[in-house]
Symmetry: C2
Subunit: 713 residues, 2 copies
């Protein structure tokens, strides 16, 4: 039983509101296109002034139509849209596709019109596509309501913030020939239906095996993540998400009015939901193709095979730079290769089966098989001119080449390992390549594109595995009451920023290890400090709701050792604050043992405007200040999420024993991150959590500073 | 008067040694190819057993030929090569192209054979191409001695470490149609002629306007840099240099036996010489085309124009990520644009002249002109479907589109500003695109490729300007004698590592500012230290030829303040060394004032196996340890080189006032780098100079540690 949205996206009865007999009008062209593309449903022109349009019976109004209507294609001008949608509602039309522009993208007035339209739609339960969209293409019933011809059909759905990007994908498929589209939709202003709703429908669409998405910004990022989490275990989503640069964010804002948001945050959230991100526009289509047709990659070990050098070097560079591993071939495999090509230039990976000038297309098959049989290999990248031997050397080698094209595809299926081919002859569309691709092996012109396909395949395989397996940590803590009491206390005191003492207590209530501290009210408490914490060295800092920048105000003293020093440090801190910030209410001076040397990291939670609470983890110090080496995941996070966060840090070697630093205790940090995630889930009122720095040691960690901000009550 | 190498590369008389009547043999196919491609010179088959080959008179031996021979194409097996080259020498043949493999790339024995061949060649003054090359193509006299058909002719020369990469470029040009090759050469083993010699010849070749190079490693990097410095002011060199990753270096080694070397070093040296580096193989050809046909870009300000959004966002992202600047359009330009397209979606850059669905190819021309007239714009990137309007909307718009294709090209010439077009219809090769490209405007399928062309154009324009202007700092110092005395002293003492005191003195002799220091022999010298340097805080460290890791051996004390503390620090350092390294000869303990807080940088000189002495500059501390944010230039460096080094640092914002750090004194650092360059030029025996850290301050810098290593005498 298809969902309502599925029926709207694949309509069997389509009313064209504003149908026309004037060939210049969209209301004429829409019908002409549907007819030309052999729409398998019923087209119902609506126009009070015409009897027939393009041979079809025309009805004056929707309510006069004697059939149920799945979708109304609305070609009328913007200003009468609310009225048209009301008529749709009265007739019980399921969805209305609003082509007109002039709504929120154009002006304040347009925004009002859009809101009015959306309100009418809600009132009647009519779902809206657009406005300001260029239409819809869906292959199931050949519904071409998008105005482009010759859209190749196939298993890829396109969901885009831009019609122009969708058109680019159409022309790409027209050149490519082998894989096309099930659905194409440019979402327009999303007055009603949004990305996540379309996504859910496409997730359930049996005709769709992969989804390409160009997104400038999400109106409801959290809902999108939820939808994506359901879809990505079933089929891949390949996305270009705008917003990597300020310039890109500016362009997105001016184009679709979208707030692209922080790319690092968005990419963390989207990856967590299993989405495959690409950053070059021309990778969208080939990567979607690869993910739609290739077997998965359990890990990232790739073998490279070529007849001749050069391209293997380029392939090795690109693979290694993108985090792939050049598979270590077994002795046995190398022996097999040597038996096949006694004079091979290189038998270890990358494998160069040639160097000569004679045609040897069969090497790709013979050596390829030996490589696929190697248990160390997850995927095979062939580079060079396989598929172009006949073009280069003539028909005498055609039979051999064609035979091995079939065989390579069979090998792939037999071993369940991905094979991708880079060939200099990709754009010649040779007979051999036709055979190869029809048998299921994709080929590419560019080495770097072929490599990106493998990278994305490995990304997607890992995400799919993780999402199938993962259940978010449940939390379930009876610490919640204690924490709530702390929060309530702060609220009663009229504060939205917890005191550090409160923040530490709250962490402690969730079982998070916090260093022992002592709060000194006056210099006389120094003895108590030393009695409890030892004589040092200690770190002392002011606790006051009114002091934001503790160091700047003279509120911090480090490496304080001995009773006298502690005493005078407390006095100095207090008097410095009293002098500089005479209004400040001073709670006391917090003493803690100086942390042992280690690596500064940061663990926190922020609120993202698109995606809500996001867990942040990264390197501290200059790494967070200058380099911003932090990664994000939507709360709650799982252990696998945390593992991926570690691996995504650019300078993760800082955690692995960089010169002068310990190998940090990842297990302890992972535990901390999961606990902070649990805490954040249980206490959404803590809108900001900032443990910075956390000093990571070879064993355990020390939370050196903790800050928490409450939402306004 | 063409050089000897020019004659060899463009031979008018070509002897084929090992010519054959057997169509399976290379000695047959070589002649057949030359004939098929209408070679305009004379082909002379050499074979003692034949009278006629392919209709040509055959000579038994070279010496029997009654003409001067420019090039011998040697198709005989490896083992007789020395003898063939001897015969070439005796006949006075200018060059020999050695096709056979089985030399140094194959075995020890082969390496001997290659050395023997090279020795014979030197003896007779015969220049060798190869061995182990697939041949030579040169367009001037249609000399196709490479065995590929249909090589498009044009102004691009290819100089490659790989025939396979060259073949890939041939197929690319065959698809592209508009620009082809003057010379193609895969250098093989470079037994005699090397990259730099070919490069020099191509630099002088009037048929060559741009050079594409794929290089795995240089045999003589220094000579290559010199040749490149002569060529790049005249014509661009676009290079893919292997070696960015360990995997790439491994593949290069196994392919051509090349030592790719350190990529960061190589890229510094090559950029300095004006070479345009690309890191994606498929950028070689389009970038070379762009540099061959486009006017230069004085700075990096680009405008983006489209009809419709999406692609403009992608273009903005790619431009900004690659360091280009989105030009700020003047009020006047925006007014002009508004007059042309009253409803334009975006008038500021990127400019979106559309949003609707009606054909408006003319907007690219009209808005394009307004944008080019803007003084803030250096280049224009058009994205979308310009060139595809007719394909999409039909013949009715053909006339308009075609007219504007011509006009866009005229605008480009008139304003001397580069225009590149990205179009979804690039692979359709429409009539409009044909007109556009023939008029001189390049078009691309991929946004990121179009952007790379502009980036490389800006890189090349800047390098050309710099190289035309630059003269290396002359040095000219009478400090040389003082420095030499220090070096001689160390050598006499049997040391190749200068003591820190010596290194500092040597720096001082070149006018480099070194902090005042005092050498204490015993704890009793503490009073002298304090008298001269004040009571601190001071840094104290051991001076001993036998202590390499000073800190590890307890040889360093920081923040030492007061006479007593200095005294005990000297004693502690000395006794720690005496205890741990009883054999160590202790010169003393060096005291210096602790440097004020600042940014740690590193300035040094290393010896690169390919490029010789290389100046290194970068960020210190964790930046050099973990992040390796350093850049290199071949010694001597100019002020413009240093400016570029600053701008190439990944985290240059560390120098620009990152939180808690000063804005550093770039002028002082520049001066220091130039002085170190001068010192290195004057003293090649200082094979390693390592000033690390240099603490950069808001005013000036402090050299905190100095290390120098001498070459073995």
């Amino acid at each position: 039983m298809p969902s309502k949205l599925d029926t709207i996206l694949n309509p069997r009865t389509l009313a064209v509101v504003g149908a026309s007999n004037d060939p210049e009008k969209r209301g004429y062209r829409a019908i002409a296109t549907l007819q030309a593309d052999k729409y398998q449903g019923r087209i119902i022109p609506i126009n009070p002034k015409e009897k027939k349009i393009l041979g079809l019976d025309c009805y004056p109004r929707l309510q006069d139509v004697p059939y149920e209507i799945d979708l109304a294609l609305v070609c009328t001008p913007a200003r009468i849209t609310p009225d048209v949608v009301r008529q749709c509602g009265e007739k019980g039309v399921k969805g209305a596709l609003l082509l007109a522009g002039g709504f929120s993208e154009a002006s304040e007035e347009g925004a009002k019109l859009e809101a009015e339209t959306a309100a009418v739609a809600r009132q009647y339960g009519v779902r809206l596509i657009g406005p300001n969209t260029n239409g819809l293409f869906s292959a199931r019933y050949a519904c071409n309501a998008i105005g482009w011809f010759d859209i190749p059909r196939g298993p890829i759905a396109v969901l885009s913030n831009s019609a122009n990007v969708a058109l680019s994908l159409v022309t790409e498929a027209q050149n490519h020939r082998y894989i096309g589209y099930s659905t194409m939709l440019s979402v327009g202003n999303q007055a009603d239906l949004q990305f996540h709703e379309y996504l859910e429908a496409l997730g359930e669409d049996p005709d769709t095996k992969a989804i390409i998405s160009y997104v400038e910004g999400f109106k409801n990022g959290r809902a999108y993540l939820e939808a994506a989490r359901k879809v990505t275990p079933l089929k891949p989503i390949v996305m270009y998400k705008a917003g990597r640069t300020a310039e890109g964010r500016g362009a997105a804002k001016s184009h679709s009015g979208s707030l692209a948001g922080d790319y690092v945050v968005a990419s963390g959230a989207l990856r967590q939901a299993g989405i495959v991100l690409v950053t070059e526009s021309h990778h969208l289509y080939p990567v979607a193709e690869a993910l739609a047709i290739l077997p998965p990659m359990p890990t990232r070990r790739v073998a490279v095979l070529s007849e001749g050098g050069g391209p293997i070097t380029m392939a090795a560079e690109a693979l290694a730079e993108k985090g792939m591993v050049l598979a270590q071939l077994t002795e046995e495999t190398q022996k097999k290769l040597k038996a096949i090509v006694p004079n091979a230039s290189a038998l270890s990976n990358p494998v160069d089966a040639g160097g000569g000038t004679d045609p040897r297309a069969e090497y790709y098959g013979l050596c390829g098989r030996a490589i696929l049989e190697d248990p160390n290999v997850d995927a095979l990248l062939m580079v060079g001119y396989f598929g172009g031997y006949t073009t280069r050397y003539g028909e005498s080698v055609a039979e051999t080449e064609n035979r091995y094209c079939v065989e390579v595809a069979e090998m792939m299926k037999q071993h369940g390992k991905a094979i991708v081919v880079q060939t200099h002859y990709a754009r010649f569309r040779t007979n051999a390549l036709d055979i190869l691709r029809n048998a299921g092996v994709p080929f590419y012109r560019d080495i770097e594109t072929a490599v990106q396909c493998l990278v994305s395949l490995a990304d997607y395989s890992a995400a799919k595995q993780r999402l199938t397996r993962a259940a978010a940590t449940s939390g379930g803590v009876n610490a919640q009451a204690a924490a709530t009491a702390i929060v309530d206390g702060a609220r009663r005191a009229g504060r939205t920023c917890l005191l550090e003492t409160e923040a530490r207590e709250l962490l402690g209530s969730y079982g998070i290890e916090v260093p022992q501290t002592v709060l000194a009210r006056t210099a006389d408490d120094a003895a108590n400090v030393v009695a409890k914490l030892g004589s040092g060295p200690l770190a002392l800092k002011i606790v006051s709701k009114d002091v934001l920048h503790k160091s700047d105000a003279g509120g911090v003293k480090l490496n304080v050792a001995g009773l006298d020093a502690v005493k005078s440090a407390i006095a100095e801190i207090t008097s410095s604050i009293e002098r500089d910030l005479p209004q400040a209410e001073i709670t006391g001076v917090l003493a803690a043992p100086m942390a042992a040397k280690g690596v500064e990291v940061i663990v926190g939670v922020i609120q993202d405007p698109q995606f809500g609470p996001m867990l942040m983890f990264g390197l501290g110090g200059v790494f967070v200040e200058v380099i911003r080496d932090v990664v994000f995941r939507a709360v709650p996070v799982t252990e696998s999420d945390v593992r991926e966060m570690f691996s995504e840090l650019r300078y993760k070697k800082m955690l692995e024993g960089a010169r002068g630093f310990p190998v940090v205790d990842k297990a302890a940090l992972t535990q901390l991150i999961l606990e902070v995630s649990t805490l954040s889930s249980a206490h959404p009122e803590l809108v900001e959590i900032d443990l910075n720095p956390v000093i990571a040691h070879a064993s355990g960690y020390t939370i050196a500073d903790a800050r928490m901000i409450l939402a306004d009550a």
